[in-house]
Amino acid sequence: MMTYAVRRVPQVLPTLLLASMLTFLLLRVVPGDIADVLAVQGAVSDESKARIREQMGLDHSIPVQYVHWVGNLVSGNLGRSYWTNLPVTTLFGYAFPKTVQLGVAAMAVALAIGVPLGVLAGAFRGSVFDHAATVLATLMISVPTFAIGILALLLFAVRLQWLPATGSLVLPALVLGVDISGTLVRTLRSDIRSEMLADYVRTAHAKGLPRLRVLSRHVLPNSLTATITVMGLALGNLLGGTVIVESVFNWPGIGDLTIQAIRNRDYPVVQAMVMVMTVAFVFVNLAVDLIYGLFDPRVRV
């Protein structure tokens, strides 16, 4: 296991390095920088644009800016927002707990809906329940997240007035959870179905083990690999903030912060947030791979 970990962990480095370069370059290709945005708003004259660029270090060449940025990043300095002059770490400190809160709640909703539906649909193939769960999962996947969000808003906040339209965790968590559980149901269902056909399951039934026990002790543990991957990808995305849902429900997390920063050309914030999202994604998947290695010896070789 250790050798597998030693080989797998360094693989994240080139990914992170390339991602940091990509972000940096993309932002500098975007026409117009912070000085232009300020100028359009009438806040600065043309001659002070040059001074702003000098202050922000934007007058250096892109490679120099990049090296400077990475140097600061390694020492934990994410820079300051061009817009509010607050340290990016402070903004991150406000937004990240919100995103984690939403992510964890969404995950709980997804598991609560997805696991029972997926397991039962897989175990009782061809039953009415199986068909209903499949149709439901298909709908959950194909209706776009923000559409579910708007409909939920319309129903629960406007018509029934059970919940406030913004500021409450319930609706965004529900919407994200429903979205993820669609994939969860499909993955679990198809893996459990194929696992039920395995020889050892027939043996277990033949020796008189109760159906439910065969399902919970034998079939389920062996059907979880793909599910863990799917959940890992989902969690990695959630921790990076969900741009759309956060903006539908005005949830002040990482995604919302990033969108505003892109609109304002607030480079330090965008760069830092994209790195946060990439790191979250890469490390959650690293963890998933290591968990595999822990309980499936074949992965290690």
Partner: protein, 291 residues
């Protein structure tokens, strides 16, 4: 996966060969999906004939008017006919989704086939770059690209096409690597066939089915992405009534006139569902053991 050892022989036995299995997909999913997509396509093509009004003409005295005999689906926030906008919007939404995948699919498939067949350092390099894109928040890449290129239908298509290249590259690479290790390919190689000929003649047809399945899934995904970008205000230009834009504008008034948002949501979800069902149905057809 835990079941690889068990699935392998079954996979080889059930592999669809030409002449085996039904010529057309039998699954109701496939036909339901095709019907939805066909109707939407027809509506899009015939929009100028079918639309009762000009999608851009405003009747400011009747803003947010509900459905009536003159305006079957009501009027929007500027008093424009929702039905006419829906029909014209189908052109933009469908064209964006289909065109971006029509670009991404061949590019990704070629890249993946090349990487999977050649292996070695080239494969490793391509896969590392694709890994980055997988880890990179997809919507952000699209957002930054669109801000760079300027918000227009062309920018959205380019951003979505780039975003979907790794999707196809991964799938095709995996499939080519699997096929290339099967006995019939090894036999053909032993008989002295050239490798690229083998790729084309033997592996190609078996991999093509995957493109049908995942092409349909990708079109549905691209349509979701297009509407998400429009929703964030970074999609096609304001004069094009794409469904995503209609929805985004309708959402602002969702409290006063829900129909303005709900109608495009319904249309969009239905067509996305249609593409998804085509993918599902053709997967069962091409690969019976998943049915």
């Amino acid at each position: 996966m835990a079941t690889i050892a068990m699935r392998r022989p079954a996979a080889a036995a059930a592999r669809p060969k030409r002449g085996a299995g039904p010529r057309w997909p039998r699954s109701p999913q496939f036909w339901a999906g095709s019907a939805i997509v066909a109707i939407a396509t027809a509506a899009a093509l015939l929009a100028p004939l079918l639309a009762p009004y000009d999608p851009l003409v405003q009747d400011t005295y009747a803003r947010y008017a509900g459905p009536s005999a003159q305006h079957l689906l009501g009027l929007d926030e500027l008093g424009r006919d929702v039905l006419s906008r829906l029909l014209h919007g189908a052109r933009i939404t469908l064209r964006t989704g289909i065109t971006s995948i029509a670009i991404a699919m061949p590019a990704g498939a070629l890249l993946g086939a090349w990487a999977g067949f050649r292996r070695g350092w080239l494969d490793a390099a391509i896969m590392r770059v694709l890994d980055v894109q997988l880890a990179y928040p997809g919507i952000l890449l699209a957002l930054v690209l669109i801000v760079t290129l300027g918000a227009s239908q062309r920018s959205v298509i380019i951003a979505l096409a780039i975003g979907y290249v790794p999707y196809f590259a991964r799938i095709i690479r995996g499939a080519v690597m699997r096929e290339a290790s099967l006995d019939y390919v090894l036999a053909a190689e032993a008989l002295g066939q050239r490798r690229w000929m083998m790729l084309l003649r033997h592996i190609g047809p078996n991999v093509a089915g995957l493109l049908v399945v995942h092409g349909s899934f990708a079109v549905s995904g691209a349509m979701v992405a297009e509407s998400s970008l429009s929703f964030l205000g970074l999609g096609v230009s304001p004069s094009d009534p794409s469904w995503g834009r209609m929805l985004s504008e309708g959402t602002q008034a969702v409290y006063i006139a829900p129909h303005v948002a709900v109608i495009p949501i319904a249309a969009l979800s239905l067509v996305i569902l249609g593409w998804f069902l085509i993918g599902e149905g053709s997967r069962e057809w091409l690969d019976p053991r998943r049915g």
